[in-house]
Amino acid sequence: MNVLEVKQLSKKFGDFIAVDNITMSVKEGEIFGFLGANGAGKSTAINMIASLLRVTKGEIEVLGKNIAKHSKFAKMNIGIVPQEMAIYEDMTAYENVRFFAGLYGLRGAELKERVIEALAFVGLGDKHKSYPKNFSGGMKRRLNIACAIAHRPKLLIMDEPTVGIDPQSRNYILGSVKKLNELGCTIIYTSHYMEEVEEICTRIAIIDHGKIIAEGTKGQLKAIITNQKNISIEVRSAENLNKSKLEAIAGVNRVEVEDRIVKVTSDSEINNLNRIIQQLMADDLEIRAVEENEPSLETVFLTLTGRSLRDQ
């Protein structure tokens, strides 16, 4: 069963088309990765799904019901974890979750039980009386999640839930996402961190310039670029690297440098590893290790959009 069905959805702001005729579906039990660079139309699409923005054209169905006609039903079954913290600093963690859960009609003992459950789920059970202003970034992120899950939504939309937090909190959140999914919650997950998406998402859609340019499982997306290989070369120092000469080698599509790693994306059918190494040696770079990887989601994204997610 599809929890979410989007059909030929478009959104215009004046003459600008933010979302251009997209169609996609999210099945029950999936963790659906929704990737797109800033301005690609990802947030606009999410806002329309969450009934926060009027649709210009197209249809959205949540659990089989059109949200234009059944907006309240849709909202009752959706939880949103916005990218920015959407919590009240002057209310305790408990009061925050209680207030937002109350907006979904929960009251009395049931409300109390759900609030305690949500706070415990994100590991803030012992901090329920504390104010968010005293929380670390990771704790605030977790409270942000608790506010979205206390009403037990069928579909949880998480927009960059791990931005700007420490690795420990990130691992906790990723673990929570998996656990929520195991408990039956379908999740739409957006992130700039490709490794997160690779780790947890069962299916992924990539949106660019308002259009979905690829959709499928990780394997299906990587298969789109099987004609490419990634070569990572670790050097002592990349200061003397002549990038243009490296890019001029036959088959090389892209060269990037991250610290002391030279990343080369090349056509897989052309055997050019020797020439690449020779060029690096000619540039007087001391090679420490050479590794050939299968394409990552990052490479897929780069190949399809021509942009990197993190460099926005």
């Binding site: 702001f13 806002n47 969450a50 009934s51 926060l52 923005l53 009027r54 309240k72 909202k75 009752m76 959706i78 949103i80 916005p82 920015e84 913290m85 959407a86 919590i87 009240y88 600093e89 002057d90 209310m91 207030f99 937002f100 109350g102 907006l103 979904y104 009609g105 506010c147 979205a148």
Partner: protein
């Protein structure tokens, strides 16, 4: 309705948690009354507490002079010794003291009055009234003395005759309410400014929630934007009604101000103005993209219009052009309503004023609704 109550409850909780808000809503208006009381000079009661020192011993004429001063409605007289004067005046027990010198009675008989000394630390405000009263009496006595031609027995006989005129003069005291009315109008002027500020603060919650993104989360819940804005308006109106009630209650019970208008009608008219203030605050919110913009607009609109419409000082002190401009402002129409009611006008005669206030409220609200409705983004309220 349950949802609206849930939102109202939360807004009230947040509002009452912030002590600064409470200060603005309830303490500042009281400070306004206090300021108005100080500016308008006390309660309006002008009874002077006078001390009289008689160095002229048991002289009947001097005694009668002292009695005459004591009979004045506006003076409360006690006899004391000269060495007590300083202490009693310094402690505020007395406003002034009159010292009748030795031989004062004889000087009157000789129609050459000796100087009477007046001691006060309040200056002309007090001595002026005392001097006028004494001068009148002494001049009369000098005339009597002139007629008695230095004969004490004749003087007393003529004086007694003078004290019992052959005609009856019926006097009625006309109460001077101007001080009370001015004080009321000044206090209400300050209250209007604070009502406008309070309404803007409470509507400002809408902007703050947009900024801290909680509005995004609220909007993604089954709560409709209309319910959200309505709950804010209800809280705003309730807080302002409380603000008005507390201010009027304190005016009535602590400051004993007689506004010349029944308090319940003042309350109702001020509630009408509260609707205007809420409408205006919603316009500010609708046209502001951030808290700082809203704050700037507040400063640009609220204070100048309040100044211009006579909230801070009487409108008559301003040039004619400014007085004409003030007619375009809601504060002017409220103050004008109060002023007319104090002059004995009826509600029927003031229906135009009330209609204008309602019109201001409706127009402001419609402008805000129109602007909210045109926002084509997630921050839209309607």
């Amino acid at each position: 309705m349950r949802d609206t109550l849930w939102l109202i409850r939360k807004t009230f909780m947040s509002t009452f948690k912030n002590y600064l808000n409470l200060f603005i809503y309830f303490v500042f208006p009281v400070m306004g009354i206090l300021l108005a009381t100080l500016v308008q000079g006390g309660t309006g009661d002008s009874e002077l507490k006078m001390g009289i020192v008689n160095h002229d011993g048991g002289q009947a004429i001097t005694k009668r002079m002292m009695d005459s001063v004591g009979k004045q409605d506006s003076m409360l007289v006690i006899e004391l010794e000269e060495n007590e004067i300083k202490g009693r005046i310094a402690s505020g027990e007395l406003d002034a003291a009159i010292i009748f010198p030795t031989g004062f009675a004889q000087s009157l008989i000789a129609h050459k009055p000796a100087d009477v000394k007046i001691v006060s630390i309040k200056g002309a405000q007090v001595t002026g009234q005392v001097t006028a009263t004494l001068d009148q009496h002494i001049n009369n006595m000098v005339s009597v003395g002139r007629a008695a031609q230095g004969d004490e027995a004749k003087f007393i006989a003529l004086y007694d005759k003078f004290q019992k005129p052959g005609f009856e003069l019926a006097g009625k005291k006309v109460e001077d309410q101007s001080v009370n009315f001015n004080k009321t109008n000044q206090s209400i002027g300050y209250l209007l400014i604070l009502m406008l500020v309070s309404a803007s603060n409470l509507s400002g919650i809408l902007i703050k929630e947009r900024e801290n993104r909680t509005y995004y989360r609220l909007l993604s819940s089954p709560i409709s934007p209309r319910t959200y804005v309505l709950s804010n308006i209800i809280v705003n109106l309730t807080m302002m009604m409380l603000q008005i009630a507390v201010t009027l209650l304190i005016m009535m019970t602590i400051f004993h101000v007689d506004p010349g208008i029944p308090y319940w009608s003042m309350f109702l008219i001020l509630v009408l103005f509260a609707l205007v203030a809420i409408g205006l605050s919603l316009v500010i919110v609708a046209f502001s993209s951030s808290s700082s913009t809203a704050s700037g607009m507040q400063n640009m609109i609220l204070i100048p219009t309040s100044l211009l419409s006579g909230c801070m000082f009487p409108l008559v002190l301003m040039p004619e052009t400014m007085q004409q401009l003030a007619r375009f402002l809601p504060q002017y129409w409220l103050l004008d309503t109060f002023s007319d009611l104090q002059q004995g006008g009826s509600f029927g005669e003031l229906s135009l004023n009330l209609i204008i206030l309602i019109a201001f409220s409706v127009v402001f609200t419609l402008i805000a609704v129109y602007k909210f409705g045109r926002n084509n983004d997630t921050r839209s309220y309607i």
